[in-house]
Subunit: 202 residues, 2 copies
C-alpha cells in the first residue's frame, strides 16, 4: 500500500473514533476536516461525498471489530470456549479498538433504522453477517455435545446480541457500575439454556 | 384544564410522534412549528427553549407509555401474569401509542448517552424508574411461588430490557420478520430461568 493508502487508513481510523462519539450522521466531511486539521478539499480527494465517507467508516469499523473480537475468538477451541471468547472480546471491543464513544454499530443502528440508502444497507448486511457468524460458532458446540441437538443457533445469536445491547444501554446511558456483571449473568443464562433440553413453553 | 393546556397537550402529542421519527435531537422548535403549521413564536410561548421542549416530550412519552403498558399490566394478577402482560403490552406499545418511528426511549438512549444536561438526566431517571417497576413486578411472583426465592429481580428487569432492545434492533434495523417470535422466545427463556433453581455457573 502506497503513501496515499496509508494516509486514507489513518484518516479512516480517526473518522471511526469521531463517529463513535458524534454518530455516523454527525460525521460530515467538514467536521472530520476540522478534527484532522485538514482542508475539506483534501478530504474530498479521498471521499466524494458524506455517504461514501460513512460507508467506508463502517467498513473500517468492521475490520477493527474482526481484529478485536472475531480473530481472537476463532483462535479458541470450537463450541462453548469459542462462544465465550466471542462474548468476552465483544464486551471490551471498544476499549481494544480505542473507540471513545462506545460501539459505533449500536449508535448507527438507532440512527439509521428509519432511513434509506447505502449506509443503512451496508450496516444491515454487516449486522446480518455478524449474527450469522455467532450462529455458526454456536452450531460448532452441537456435535461436540456442549449444546443441545435442537439448539436454535439463530435464536442464540439474536439473544447474545440482545445481551450486548442491554450491556451498552446499562453502561453508557445508565452508567450502571454493575453493567458488566449483568451482561455476564445474561450470557451465563443463555449458555445454560443452550445446554438444557428444550422445555415446553406457554 | 383550560384551552391553553389542551393546546399544549395536542402540540406535545404531535411532538412525541415527530421525535419518534427524527429523534429528540432532531426535534427543534423550528422543525415542530413547520410540522404543525404554526409560527415559531407561537411555540416559544409554550416552550422556552429546545431543551424544555425535549424534556416535556419525554414526560409526555412516559405518560403514553404508562397508559399503554403499565396501567393494563397492573390490572393483571400479580406475579407471572403481570410480568407477561407487561412484556406483551411493551411489545406493541408504539402501535398502541401510534408512534410512527418506533420507541422514542430506545432512540433517545442511543442519541443522548454521550451528552450531558437535563434531557439526558430526565431520560436516565425515567429509565431507572421503569427498570425498578419491572423488578417490583417480578418480585410479586416470589411469594406466590411463580418465581424462585432467590430471584435477582433487578437482573430480571435488566434482562427483560435487553430482550426488548434486541427486538427493536431486529424489527426496526434488520426488518427481521421473526423479530416478534425471537423476542417471545427470549422472554420465555427469561421466565424459565426465573422459575428454576439457581445453577452454579462458571
Amino acid at each position: 500500500m502506497g503513501k496515499g493508502g496509508a494516509t486514507k487508513d489513518a484518516i479512516l481510523d480517526r473518522a471511526v473514533r469521531l463517529a463513535s462519539q458524534v454518530g455516523l450522521s454527525g460525521l460530515s466531511i467538514g467536521r472530520l476536516a476540522e478534527d484532522l486539521h485538514m482542508s475539506k478539499s483534501g478530504l474530498f480527494a479521498h471521499f466524494e461525498a458524506k455517504e461514501t465517507l460513512q460507508v467506508e467508516v463502517l467498513e473500517r469499523a468492521a475490520q477493527l471489530f474482526v481484529e478485536a473480537v472475531v480473530r481472537p475468538a476463532l483462535a479458541q477451541p470450537r463450541g462453548e470456549p469459542r462462544l465465550r471468547a466471542l462474548f468476552e472480546h465483544w464486551l471490551c471491543w471498544t476499549k481494544t479498538a480505542r473507540l471513545p464513544g462506545g460501539c459505533l454499530f449500536v449508535a448507527a443502528a438507532a440512527e439509521l433504522d428509519d432511513r434509506r440508502g447505502p449506509v443503512r444497507d451496508r450496516l444491515v448486511s454487516l449486522q446480518r453477517e455478524w449474527l450469522e457468524l455467532i450462529a455458526n460458532v454456536a452450531r460448532t458446540g452441537i456435535p461436540l455435545g456442549h449444546f443441545r441437538d435442537d439448539l436454535d443457533a439463530q435464536q442464540c445469536a439474536h439473544d447474545l446480541y440482545s445481551v450486548m445491547l442491554g450491556y451498552h444501554h446499562a453502561k453508557r446511558l445508565l452508567r450502571d457500575p454493575r453493567a458488566e456483571d449483568r451482561a455476564r449473568a445474561g450470557f451465563e443464562s443463555l449458555l445454560a439454556a443452550a445446554r438444557r433440553r428444550r422445555r415446553k413453553s406457554a
